[in-house]
């Protein structure tokens, strides 16, 4: 059965091995190997001897993960079956040089494990028997070989990853080879380590070992350590990578910690490690530096006696590092180490943890202060001969003490241990008591530690300690020793404080100490003074101890009742700080006036010192800020008053005391209790703090009413001045209050109830800055988010109230937003609502009044100027407003943007881009059909005047009204909305104007209309600037209409500049052959020029020609009209339709146009024109037509016309068929005046004439028959008239008549018609 199973499992293993060997991919190979390993180890270890060699063949596998797995497997196999090591270790050694670093790393890892394991096995076996079995021996040998190979790896440059493990191996070896002082020094019974050996210790081998010589091993360890240390020595360290340095430092510090015996070797190297010189990149510096610092800190923490001597140097090094790198890191570090931060700078960081202790200290202030002020006023009054003997040297001390405050750190652990060593008897209370004693005895260095100890012990425990210490208090008050010698000896004259206060009254000293304790150096100084005395005078030592303990006692008591008084704490703090100074002054006064040196009096006053000191803390302290701020105030005040009269103190001190008593009876009771306790030692044990349990609601109520009270008080306090400090206090107070009590709402109410009189602005700013500080400073997620949300709400509420309750012209809102620490998103929304009413909320109709918009915009403006970081956002708001759909809003915004913002070079481009985008959006927008928008038309009415208002000028508003079409198309409105800004910018930067020309072509119709509305104002504002001329000289295609409008505007009412004329003329000649563009400048053109283009002008549509006519005749005031009316008419007549390619109709129209202007084309003009025309050869085509028109228009001209007609007769008018018809018409029209002219015609022509217009015949005959006329007529005429030969002539004429009617051409007919028309008109 067994055999079969053995065979079965063997086969199984073999098949696994086989498949592992021949698997093609890494995962399956690994999987098979894993199964095989499990199988061999768990199921059938008996197969191992057979399979190990086969497994080892995998060392040559081509896959590095497989080799790595093998290395790991060797580890596991070796741990269980150490006997295979001689066989397997060579593989590991080979792996060390493997090409894949991962394999080498695994090899070292496995090797380290195996090395430890083997050493333990060897050691333990050697302990049990004098002989080792040979397999174990050879295993050990192979491990030693491995060690020898690994060693160089740890110390030579090469692959860092492997080297790290090499170092780690050496570390492990050193630890193994040296006795562990903390581990069990005796080996456990043999049976115990059949399984896992826990905590092997080299010291077990002290009794001797057959193979291992503990001495040799330590020598080797020591040598290895030397090698490790050598790495960190200059210059080797320079060649190391950062990672190696870190690991070396970590390893060494671990060794130092575990084997304190090596402190003396390791620390000098670490301390001497000058990373700054060894490192080039900033990166390296940081990581290694940090590691070093951590190493120091962890070394510092070691409590082994061997480590003790190094403390001072470590602390020194840490402090140096702090100076070298960043203070905060080290301070944090040290703070962490001691549980609390003790030096000045450190307070900032540990403040949260420290709050409780600070509170308790504050409480002590109050009690002692109050007591003192009440009790010793008389002393104070009497002793205004101030003892400066004690005070004078303080500056010296403070210098040294600040330095020492750092050194103090190390004292806590060491003294702790000494204390317990010396006083090892009973429970924690006794131990603590002893520790206090020891600390006090230690001298100045211990002052900080003492402080920490006090603040870190729980209140009850501390109380216990105090109780226990009571029995040591002397029964009588110690006498004053006043030994001057000791003062002189110590060099710290402050020591007198110790001895003197002792002599006077212990409790006064206590109060002194605690009044100073808000600033640490001070307490350190004072406390340090004591021991120095105590060294000199042995007797006083005990007394000093007691005082110190009494001091802690007070702290303990007060902190135990801390909860109780917390409700009124804020008020109390105010009390306490103002009371502090008096208590100190008492001290001074209590000292016998030995010397009257007034030298450094002020600087020597501890209170003043502390106030200066707290200045630095102001930023970070939460609770203590309350007190320190007030210390500042009161101290300065009182110190100055001190010089003149110390009598002031009682009064200043007592007022707040009263108030606190009102507020909290508990605290009063407590105060008396404490004061009793302090004033006499005998009462001390009887002291008991009355405890009143308040439920939560009561607490809340108390807190709330206290806060309200304070706020109320502020309304009066304003008169007293110093508000800025007070406001900070109020803000801090709000911070401290639980949120559900809603202190902010109360504050807001106060602020907003009378913003101006309550200095609402200042207070709001304080509050906001405080909140901001909270949100920013605290890296802590919770507090910052809460502070942020409170901040937002607060700011917004105030802003909204300001908006709603103040007139729009008020600048408070602008000022507030300009000065707050930052603007949250909601504030931008708020501004947006203000600047762009209706866009966000329809609700605030009332806000839409223009004044509010102005207010919003001016706020935005000032924000842009004052707060560059948010410039973009504000600008966006302004720009949005500049395209607002309401005209009024938009124009205001545009005025702001164009006049105020655009000139700012930093944002000009942005504005331009935006305007540009808006302009282009118009072009790309949907081509809105001309549907009339009902709403739009409503707006249109009042809009017009405003609409045309350019941003910065008001004069031109009415000019374009006529231009404004009746179209109320919404697209125009929309286009205007979008384009106004751009146009406004054009007036500021003329070069922008070109774009309008460029896009003009592609604009939809409605938009074009909008453009045309804008242009006149725009152009008038710009004038004919060079940019504009540039555009005119080279206009983009398709913009002719626009161009002409521009030209019209430019020339309208003014004389165009020569440049303009030149430009236009050039344009006409070169590019744009459209005569229309010349119209605006016609008046400025010379006569010849006008004449040269006259045909084209005639060819214009009638309305345009009217304009042309007006311009030509108007002329310029300087040069007179380009053409006189007569010249115009003559020019018209000079046009030959065929030659000039102009329809006759156009020419006649032109004539008609002239005749319509009778004021201009008077009869004199006409006469002159006709006079000239009649001389022309050939006669102008329209000559007769004009004559007819002239007679129609001015019947008075008839005589003149007759003259003309007779001249025409002389010119043989009948030779021009067209004119002949006209001539006849004319004669018919002007009968009877024309009879004389008719009679001048030759007979044939007369006959023709009469045939054509038979109606003439009869009157003419009558006329001719007049005797005087008849005689003058030639016979032929008479024949024609039938006066001579009646029948013949008449039949002839009758026969001819129809012919002439036939032959009359259409042109003549037209003339006739026209003639009839004009005659009817006239």
């Amino acid at each position: 059965m067994v055999g079969r199973m053995g065979i079965g499992s063997r086969e199984k293993a073999a098949s696994l091995l086989h498949s592992a060997k021949f698997a093609m991919d890494i995962p399956s190979k690994l999987e098979h190997l894993h199964q095989l390993k499990e199988f061999l180890l768990q199921r059938d270890p008996s197969l191992l001897p057979e399979f190990v060699p086969q497994l080892l063949e995998f060392q040559n596998d081509r896959f590095s993960p497989v080799r790595k797995f093998l290395a790991g497997m060797i580890d596991q196999l070796g741990m269980e079956h150490i006997e295979f090591l001689p066989e397997m270790v060579p593989v590991l050694i080979a792996f060390l040089k493997d090409t894949a670093p991962a394999v080498a790393r695994q090899a070292i890892t496995s090797g380290t494990d195996l090395f430890c394991r083997t050493l333990e096995k060897v050691a333990i076996q050697g302990l049990c028997s004098s002989e080792l079995d040979s397999s174990l021996e050879s295993s050990w040998d192979s491990m030693l070989k491995f060690k020898d190979i690994v060693y160089p790896i740890a110390f030579q440059t090469g692959n860092d990853g492997i080297r790290l493990l090499g170092v780690k191996f050496v570390e492990a070896m050193i630890l193994l080879y040296t006795p562990d002082p903390d581990g069990p020094s005796e080996p456990p019974p043999y049976q115990a380590y059949e399984g896992n050996v826990v905590g092997f210790n080299m010291s077990w081998l002290r009794g001797g070992h057959p193979m291992l010589n503990i001495g040799d091993l330590s020598i080797e360890a020591s040598r290895s350590l030397g090698l490790l240390l050598g790495q960190l020595r200059f210059p080797t360290v320079k060649s190391l990578s950062n990672a190696i340095i870190i690991v070396l430092i970590n390893s060494l510090s671990a060794i130092a910690k575990k084997r304190p015996a090596f402190y003396g070797r390791i620390l000098p190297v670490l301390l001497g490690l000058d990373l700054s010189s060894s490192v080039i990149k900033g990166v390296r510096f940081c990581g290694a530096h940090h590691a070093l610092k951590n190493a120091f800190v962890s070394c510092l923490k070691c409590t082994h006696p061997g480590a003790a001597p190094w403390r001072d140097r470590l602390v020194g090094a840490l402090r140096e590092m702090k100076a070298g790198v960043s203070a905060e890191q080290t301070v944090c570090e040290v703070g962490k180490f001691n549980g609390i931060v003790e030096d000045g700078a450190g307070e900032a960081y540990s403040i949260e943890e420290r709050k409780p202790s600070m509170e308790s200290l504050d409480d002590v202030h109050i009690e002692t202060g109050k007591k003192r002020s009440a009790q010793e006023i008389s002393d104070l009054v009497q002793d205004d001969g101030l003892s400066t003997k004690r005070v004078r040297p303080t500056p010296i001390v403070s210098q040294s003490s600040t330095k020492d405050s750092n050194a103090v750190q190390d004292n806590l652990p060491s003294t702790g241990s000494t204390a317990s060593a010396g006083d090892g008897d009973s429970g924690p209370v006794q131990q603590l008591l002893a520790m206090f004693g020891a600390l006090v005895a230690q001298g100045e260095k211990a002052a900080g530690s003492l402080e920490i100890l006090i603040s870190s012990i729980s209140a009850d425990l501390l109380a216990e300690v105090v109780m226990a210490n009571m029995c040591y208090l002397p029964a009588t008050r110690p006498k004053a020793e006043g030994d001057d010698e000791s003062m002189l000896n110590t060099g710290y004259i402050t020591s007198t404080v110790g001895s003197n206060t002792q002599g006077i009254q212990p409790s006064s000293f206590v109060s002194n100490v605690f009044s100073l304790s808000s600033a640490f150096p001070q307490i350190a100084r004072l406390l340090s003074a004591q021991p120095s005395t105590s060294r000199d005078a042995d007797k006083s030592q005990r007394g000093n101890e007691h005082q110190a303990v009494v001091a802690t006692d007070t702290a303990a008591v007060s902190s135990s009742i801390n909860d109780l008084t917390e409700a009124v704490r804020p008020t109390e703090v105010v009390v306490s700080t103002s009371a502090v100074v008096p208590s100190k002054m008492e001290d001074c006064s209590a000292i016998p006036p030995e010397a009257h040196d007034m030298g450094n009096f002020e600087s020597g006053i501890p209170g003043l010192d502390s106030s200066v000191y707290t200045d630095g803390l102001l930023e970070t302290l939460d609770t203590s800020r309350l007190s320190s701020a007030d210390i500042q105030g009161t101290n300065q005040e009182e110190v100055t008053s001190l010089d003149s009269s110390p009598l002031n103190f009682p009064s200043t001190g007592s007022t707040p005391v009263d108030r606190s008593e009102e507020l909290n009876p508990n605290s009063t009771t407590h105060t008396t209790a404490t004061s009793v306790h302090l004033s006499s030692q005998y009462v001390l044990p009887k002291m008991s703090a009355p405890v009143v349990d308040l439920d939560d609601e009561q607490k809340d109520y108390l807190q709330k009413s206290a806060f309200l009270h304070i706020i109320e008080a502020y309304k009066q306090v304003k008169v007293a001045g110093g508000t800025h400090v007070r406001f900070s206090l109020l803000a801090c107070l709000g911070m401290e209050y639980p949120l559900e009590l809603d202190p902010w709402k109360l504050l807001q109410k106060h602020i907003l109830s009378d913003y101006l009189n309550h200095e609402g602005h200042e207070l709001t700013l304080r509050v906001l800055f405080r909140l901001f500080g909270e949100a920013e400073q605290d890296r802590d997620f919770f507090s910052s988010t809460t502070a942020t949300s409170v901040y937002e709400t607060f700011l917004l509420t105030v802003a909204e109230t300001l908006r709603d309750s103040f007139p729009a012209s008020d600048k408070s809102l602008t000022r507030l937003l300009g000065e707050v620490p930052y603007l949250p998103k909601t504030a931008y929304k708020f501004l947006e609502c203000l600047c762009c009413p209706g866009s966000n909320e329809k609700v605030d109709k009332e806000l839409q009044s223009g004044d509010r918009v102005t207010q919003g915009l001016s706020t935005v403006w000032s924000l842009i100027l004052l707060r560059p970081p948010i410039r973009d956002i504000c600008l966006k708001i302004a720009l949005q407003s500049a395209v607002h759909h309401l005209e009024e809003v938009r124009m205001k915004a545009i005025r702001l943007v164009a006049n105020k913002l655009y000139p700012l070079s930093c944002i000009a481009q942005q504005i331009e881009d935006f305007a540009n985008d808006m302009l282009l959006s118009v072009m790309n927008g949907p081509n809105v059909t001309e549907g009339v928008d009902a709403e739009g038309s409503i707006i249109e009415g009042p809009k017009d005047s405003d609409l045309e208002n350019p941003p910065n000028e008001l004069a031109v508003s009415n000019v374009t009204k006529e231009v404004a079409s009746d179209s109320t198309c919404s697209s125009i409105l929309d286009a205007q909305r979008c384009m106004s800004l751009y146009f406004a910018l054009c007036t500021k930067k003329h070069s922008l104007f070109r774009r309008i020309f460029v896009i003009y072509k592609s604009l939809p119709k409605g938009v074009k209309q909008a453009v045309h509305r804008h242009i006149p104002i725009l152009v008038r504002t710009m004038g004919s600037s060079s940019e504009l001329l540039g555009i005119i000289s080279d206009p983009p295609t398709g913009c002719e209409n626009l161009l002409i409008q521009v030209l019209h505007t430019l020339t309208d009412g003014t004389i165009p500049s020569p440049e303009l004329i030149l430009t236009v003329r050039k344009l006409y000649e070169s590019k744009l052959k459209d005569v229309e563009i010349l119209i605006p400048i016609l008046p400025s053109l010379s006569k010849d020029e006008v004449l040269s283009i006259f045909p084209q002008l005639i060819n214009l549509p009638p309305d345009k020609f009217q304009a042309v006519l007006a311009r030509i005749l108007q002329g310029s005031s300087h040069f007179g009209p380009a053409l006189t009316p007569a010249e115009v008419l003559i020019a018209i007549h000079g046009i030959d339709p065929e030659r000039d390619g102009i329809p006759l109709k156009k020419v006649t129209d032109a004539c008609n146009a002239c005749f319509e202007q009778r004021q201009v084309f008077t009869q004199q003009v006409l006469a002159r024109v006709l006079n000239q025309l009649v001389e022309q050869i050939p006669l102008p085509l329209l000559f007769m037509r004009t004559v007819l028109q002239a007679i129609g228009a001015f019947p008075a001209l008839v005589d003149f016309i007759m003259e003309i007609l007779s001249r025409l007769v002389n010119k043989q008018i009948w030779k021009y068929p067209k004119l002949w018809v006209g001539f006849l018409k004319c004669t018919a029209l002007t009968k009877p005046h024309s009879f004389s002219v008719l009679l001048q015609l030759p007979a044939a022509q007369l006959e023709n004439a009469l045939n054509r217009t038979p109606a003439l015949k009869a009157p003419l005959i009558t006329h001719a028959n007049q005797p005087n006329i008849r005689t003058s007529l030639p016979r032929s005429i008479l024949v024609v008239l039938g006066i001579a030969q009646d029948s013949q002539s008449s039949s002839h004429t009758q026969m001819v008549q129809p012919q002439t009617t036939d032959t009359s051409n259409s042109g003549a007919e037209a003339v006739t018609e026209k003639n009839k028309e004009s005659s009817t008109v006239s």
Partner: protein, 193 residues
């Protein structure tokens, strides 16, 4: 080589979870922890944080806070954050109690205090495995926006580490390049499991 990552901040809520969520989404092997004594979330005032034990499911916190003051916690982003977290894993875990989770290759911290705690904790553990672990600190402010930025940076760095054959050899270069590119200071240390 597939590395195991751990993201660590103090409460295992914001920064570490943001990074955890992101790295997880990108397919990395990642866990997250907090080093604090408790899980603290903002409360109604600065002095009254909501304190939970590690191991309290995010869902439970979510329900708790929603019951207390949905408005406040929604506004300061706590509820959305908790909701996100509950989709990533069940509950916040404490670094100091993660021995059972095995060894990590890269531990990413977001605050120097946390970094020190992790390094010290690793230091105090038994170094039985002889396995290197890289501890990197990137200071990230504890708010939602910065956390998102920090997470992206963490992802980038982790991907870079993952891309190298063995970070032990090139860590200095990677860190230097990263610092140069992002102008953020990195702190790293190497510890052993």
């Amino acid at each position: 080589m597939k590395l195991r990552h751990a993201m660590v901040c103090s409460s295992n809520q914001n920064r570490s979870m943001e990074a955890h969520s992101l790295l997880k989404r990108e397919g990395l092997d990642v866990s997250s922890y907090g080093t604090g004594a408790h899980v603290k979330l903002p409360g109604p005032s600065l002095r009254e944080p909501n304190v939970y034990e590690f191991g309290t499911p995010y869902k439970q916190m979510f329900d708790d806070l929603r019951r207390k003051d949905p408005e406040l916690y929604k506004r300061n982003g706590i509820l959305p954050m908790l909701k996100r977290n509950s989709t990533v894993k069940l509950a916040p875990q404490r670094w100091q109690e993660n021995a059972a989770d095995g060894s990590f290759d890269v531990v990413f911290t977001f605050e120097e205090k946390v970094f020190d705690m992790v390094v010290e904790d690793l230091h105090n553990r038994e170094h039985a495995l002889m396995k290197c672990v890289l501890v990197i600190n990137l200071d990230v402010k504890d708010n939602h926006e910065e956390a998102a930025v920090g997470a992206r940076l963490a992802l980038e760095l982790c991907q870079q580490l993952e891309g190298t054959e063995s970070w032990e050899d090139s860590i200095d270069d990677i860190v230097a390049a990263f610092e140069k590119q992002h102008r953020r200071k990195l702190l790293y240390s190497i510890s052993f499991y």
